[in-house]
């Protein structure tokens, strides 16, 4: 088969061999910078990962890669986009690294190793080791970094996002993102964090850390606590993509697939969660016809993959299983509430906590009735947990109301309204109190 380039050949056979590097496409304004941005998103993580392997330093690797991107921005609009842009960027970044070391005259051994690799690049295909990207995930999610730094660095080096894109997602100035990245790199360098996949003994907590970073990124986008809602959905979408990437890197880890499943289920229900004006819609009142069936199907597949590994269900798998119960039910009455109760019981054994217990109470109220559920809620009150949160009084209010104890219910809704941080939620609770 003849090798061909993008849109230029239009049905015409192009001879094998060297080809002109400039794609003869219809010109679009700012086409090359935008193409570089798209290329970076696709290839950036692997370029940085390959560089980090030879330099042993993620921050330095990222800096050199960015310099290569700057050079591409300067050269490609006139010279054209090379046939293998990733190889070009990697070669230029390696050259920059050598120049930098030459100036500082340090790390003789690394310099020699890298110089040799740069020579080989001329003939060899660009072919990073798949494990490199996994090392990149572990470096970006290193416990030495703050969570915010971990998220930012993950978006940057694993997600291939530009500082501008990250700034848009977090609704902060570009300079703030740049500072965070610089500080994160300094922290990694100061801690002499090795670019490696951790030892087997460290594997599980480090993977859990990486999953947590991705899930936090997702919930930040999903709960839409501030900023423009659509932009936050982008953040959730990016987290879902990174989750898919991670699950591919560690296909034998059930919790990675389970996290993807959980995010797919939650994303599928996203559109139904709020009205156009931003008012939250309760599950019972959500228009289930606007749930994304493709997403639910992908969630089911991911959860099935996690289960197929036969290692039992972890935290994310149990949460995903709850979400699945909601997603596959035609309505609230048709929901498998007994199953959800069992799942929350399992979650409670795995990761006990008052929020899980409260969720169990809600499920119990649907499965067996408000009386049993109220006993659980009352136990939480007696334990003095969840104080300062509107969740417990609003659930108690709901249960009391269903038991016909309206005066007590009203008092609970009023108390819950006073604690609600979100004005939309407060309004809703006050409405319930007035009923």
């Amino acid at each position: 088969m003849a090798r061909r380039r993008g849109g230029a050949s239009r049905g015409k056979r192009v001879a094998a061999g060297p080809e002109p590097s400039v794609a003869q496409e219809e010109p679009r304004r700012g086409a090359v910078p935008r193409r570089i941005e798209a290329l970076w998103r696709i290839e950036g993580p692997r370029i940085v990962a390959a560089l980090a392997r030879v330099t042993g330093d993620v921050g330095f690797a990222e800096d050199m890669a960015q310099e290569a991107v700057a050079e591409a921005l300067a050269q490609w609009p006139a010279a054209g986009v090379p046939r293998n842009p990733a190889a070009w960027l990697t070669a230029v970044a390696k050259r920059r690294a050598i120049d930098s070391w030459r100036r500082t005259e340090r790390l003789e051994e690394r310099y020699r190793r890298l110089a040799q690799e740069a020579q080989e690049d001329v003939v060899a295909d660009w072919n990073p080791v798949p494990d490199d990207v996994l090392r990149l995930v572990f470096s970006a999610c290193h416990p030495e970094l703050s969570l915010l730094a971990q998220i930012t660095l993950t978006l940057r080096v694993v997600g291939g996002l530009s500082t501008r894109e990250i700034a848009r997602l977090f609704v902060v100035p570009v300079a703030t993102v740049q500072q965070r990245i610089v500080r994160a790199k300094k922290t990694l360098a100061a801690a002499k964090v090795p670019f490696e996949v951790p030892e087997p003994s460290e594997w599980e907590p480090r993977l859990a850390g990486a999953l947590r970073v991705i899930y936090l990124m997702f919930t930040e986008g999903y709960s839409a606590t501030s900023g423009d809602q659509w932009i936050r959905q982008d953040l959730a979408g990016e987290a879902l993509r990174l989750g898919r990437v991670l699950a591919r890197l560690v296909p034998r880890e059930p919790e990675a697939h389970a996290l993807v499943a959980l995010m797919e289920f939650q994303t599928a229900r996203f559109a139904a969660r709020t009205r156009v004006d931003g008012t939250p819609i309760l599950l019972a009142e959500q228009d289930r016809s606007s749930w994304d069936r493709g997403g639910i199907e992908r969630g089911r597949e991911a959860l099935a993959r996690a289960d197929a590994l036969g290692r039992g269900r972890g935290n994310y798998a149990l949460q995903a299983a709850v979400a699945k119960c909601h997603c596959v039910a035609a309505n609230v009455d048709g929901t498998d509430w007994p199953q959800i109760v069992l799942l929350y019981e399992a979650l409670g054994r795995l990761a006990p906590g008052p929020v899980v217990e409260l969720n169990r109470a809600v499920a119990v109220s649907m499965a067996t009735g408000p009386e049993t559920a109220l006993a659980i809620a009352d136990r939480l009150v007696a334990q003095g947990v969840l104080r300062g949160s509107h969740l417990l009084p609003s659930v108690r209010g709901e249960l009391l109301s269903r038991l016909g104890r309206s005066a007590e219910a009203r008092a609970e809704f009023t108390a819950a309204a006073a604690l609600a941080g979100n004005t939309r939620e407060r309004d809703m609770l006050l409405r319930r109190a007035a009923e």
């Binding site: 088969m1 993509r241 591919r248 228009d287 606007s290 596959v328 035609a330």
Partner: protein, 149 residues
Amino acid sequence: MKYMLIMRSTDAAQEAYKDLPFEEVINRMGAYNESMINAGVLLAGEGLADVAQDSDNAFVVDFSDDPPLVTDGPYGETHELFNGFWILQVSSRDEAAEWARRCPLGAGSKLEVRRVTEPEDFAAFADNEYIRKEAGWRDDEAALRAGNA
């Protein structure tokens, strides 16, 4: 945003493909698919069965007649065949174009790239009876599949 990559080729391209060992075609397409799965952007993709092989594989409904006419198809004359599709979730048109460029197709083939509509595209018709009904039909289908799984 989602984009659909629609694989289109001509009779000539199909003819040229026959010279290529099928396993190599599988390997090239497999590597392409794998790269998109690894990047977390591939949502779906299917190939369509060979048109020439069996008339059960493909037929055409022509609306020039009333009622419409079902025929084995004027495939031989159109020169353009739909062979398969991918659905990608990407951040921009440029990212979709970048993935499309990498598709291992030969001369005579084209990829048509189309943005897939999302609920927002129909926001102005959210209350339309049939927009709502269609979502309901999709629901039923999903519930059926859920029951069978």
